[in-house]
């Protein structure tokens, strides 16, 4: 090819095509805001109703949302819950979860890319992954205790192994869903194996991978609480919930449950959903699942 600038005289692209076409942004409408408020208010109202009913009929102090709120404020001001501040419990839980989940994400994505890429590796590993999928998170307790003894590492292991399974399954499916023509095109343009993995298979499998992260996050988060309850970690939100049985501090337990729900919601709304918006939706791809 000549190195002189292309002297071909080109007519502009077909009319009617604007330089940048953006999907119309949704405006927050009044009815939308009402629905959002109702989606929070209705469950709260049900909770309140149940609390009042139970307290009257069974004569036990079932915490209302207001009771829980007061207790939350007290805890935030530094009152102790099961020997530690709420901050300590929250921090420990988050740290365990972050370590376990990061392990699951790293291992899950790498193995998923490999299994999706190599039919041999997939056939070798899929029976194991399928079996892992059938094991409920709590069933790992004896295994984890044997491996790591009683303590936070046991919980971390349970989180990692539980979150790993959906991530690896979805990443594998994602890689296999990448159109072979993309691989041909990439090879034709001189891509080596590393480029194929990082710049074709990884982004190409992202719709599936993100739903894997979602499911992995949810199951990992659930098993964090369960893991702390069963394995005596000494601190953590799940541990506190379990201990409140003995201290009869049901309000404290409800605060912990509320915090667990809130964090799950925040991660979903402010991390996972925006991640999906910035990638899959912007690329014009359909979400997986």
């Amino acid at each position: 090819m000549s190195t002189s600038p292309g002297k071909a005289d080109f007519s502009p692209p077909p009319a009617g095509a604007a330089p940048v076409l953006r999907a119309a942004r949704q405006r927050p409408s009044l009815s939308g805001a009402l629905i959002a408020v109702a989606s929070v208010a209705i469950p709260l109202a049900i909770w309140w109703g149940v609390a009042v009913l139970v307290t009257h009929m069974r004569g036990v102090p079932f915490p209302t949302p207001l009771d829980t709120y007061h207790r939350l404020v007290a805890l935030l001001q530094g009152k102790l819950l099961v020997d530690f501040t709420i901050y300590r419990h929250l921090g420990d839980s988050l740290r365990r979860f972050t370590i376990g989940f990061s392990l699951a994400v790293g291992l899950g994505i790498v193995s998923g890319l490999l299994f999706g890429w190599s039919r041999l590796l997939e056939r070798l590993s899929m029976p194991t992954v399928t079996v892992l999928q059938l094991i409920p998170g709590l069933a790992w307790v004896p295994v984890a205790i044997l491996l790591f003894g009683i303590g936070p590492r046991t919980t971390i292991f349970m989180i990692a192994v539980t979150a790993f399974v959906p991530i690896v399954i979805n990443t594998t499916a994602g890689v296999k869903s990448v159109d072979e023509m993309y691989l041909r095109a990439a090879r034709m343009m001189g891509a080596d194996e590393r480029t194929l993995f990082l710049r074709v298979l990884l982004p190409g499998s992202l719709p599936h991978l993100l739903s894997g992260l979602r499911v992995g996050f949810a199951s990992g988060w659930r098993v964090l609480v369960a893991g702390e309850m069963v394995v005596g970690t000494g601190t953590g939100l799940g541990y506190s919930i379990m201990q409140s049985r003995w201290t009869l501090d049901y309000c404290g337990a409800f605060v912990c449950i509320a915090i667990i729900c809130a964090i799950g919601l925040i991660v979903e709304r402010f991390i996972l959903l925006p991640l999906e918006r910035r990638t899959v939706e912007r690329w014009g791809l359909a979400r997986a699942g």
């Binding site: 600038p5 095509a17 041909r184 791809l285």
Partner: protein
Amino acid sequence: MGARKSRVIVMIELHQVSKVFHNEETGQHVQALRDVSLQIEENEFVCLLGPSGCGKSTLLNLVAGFDRPSGGRVLFDREPVRTPGPDRGVVFQEPTLFPWLTCEQNVAFGLRNLNIEPQRRRGLVRRFLTLVGLDSFARARPHQLSGGMKQRVALARVLALNPRALLMDEPFGALDAQTRDRLQDELLRIWETHRKTVLFVTHNVEEAVYLADRVAVLAPAPDSIIADLPISIPRPRDRFSPEIREATMALMAVLANLPCCVLPSQSEEVGQTVRLQEGG
């Protein structure tokens, strides 16, 4: 033309090439090509014409290096073809732009693989997007473009790699007639400035006659190339000229003896997908 070919270099050569696809599940096999021989000279524009299912894509994929022949030899620039590579730019029927990259990133993809430094890369990207008239869409994503625009980007991304040959598999087959005519003209204009060897697969007779220096007609196996006609109509050509019509009629007469589309030989069901990575 004749004067330029004082030193003829054969760029693409197929020598008695056969290709049989095996379907592992049913155990059946399909003979897609049998004993096909074809030579394409440097800077020649050859159209490969034939009914659907006669093995045109199979032939092109062998030259591209996506597949290996079951028999015979496929040479590119006198070397046996082993793998795909940027010396043979392929434009597929579907644009196959990476949806996760913008237009300019799509064009830059191959340049990055060639380790061209960023400064020069940006220049080349701009130049080739301009060449196909899409410089103002550099930051757009493929899904925001029309089919014709996507094919222009697909062309730009291989031209930017300065390939020795362009392999085009019905690249305008999915476009409406008007867009197709436009893109044909643009392709010819680019080809006039950046001379390249072109192997252009189509089942459209007018398209073949309008574009090609030579039209090779492929018949389904066990037949192979049943006609190989030079189209010596001077360029630039007029689509509606009597010469074009005449050549079109002659080719249609050849094609009239062939079935309009071909069922796979020796089996009713054909496994369509063979995972690419297992071949290489």
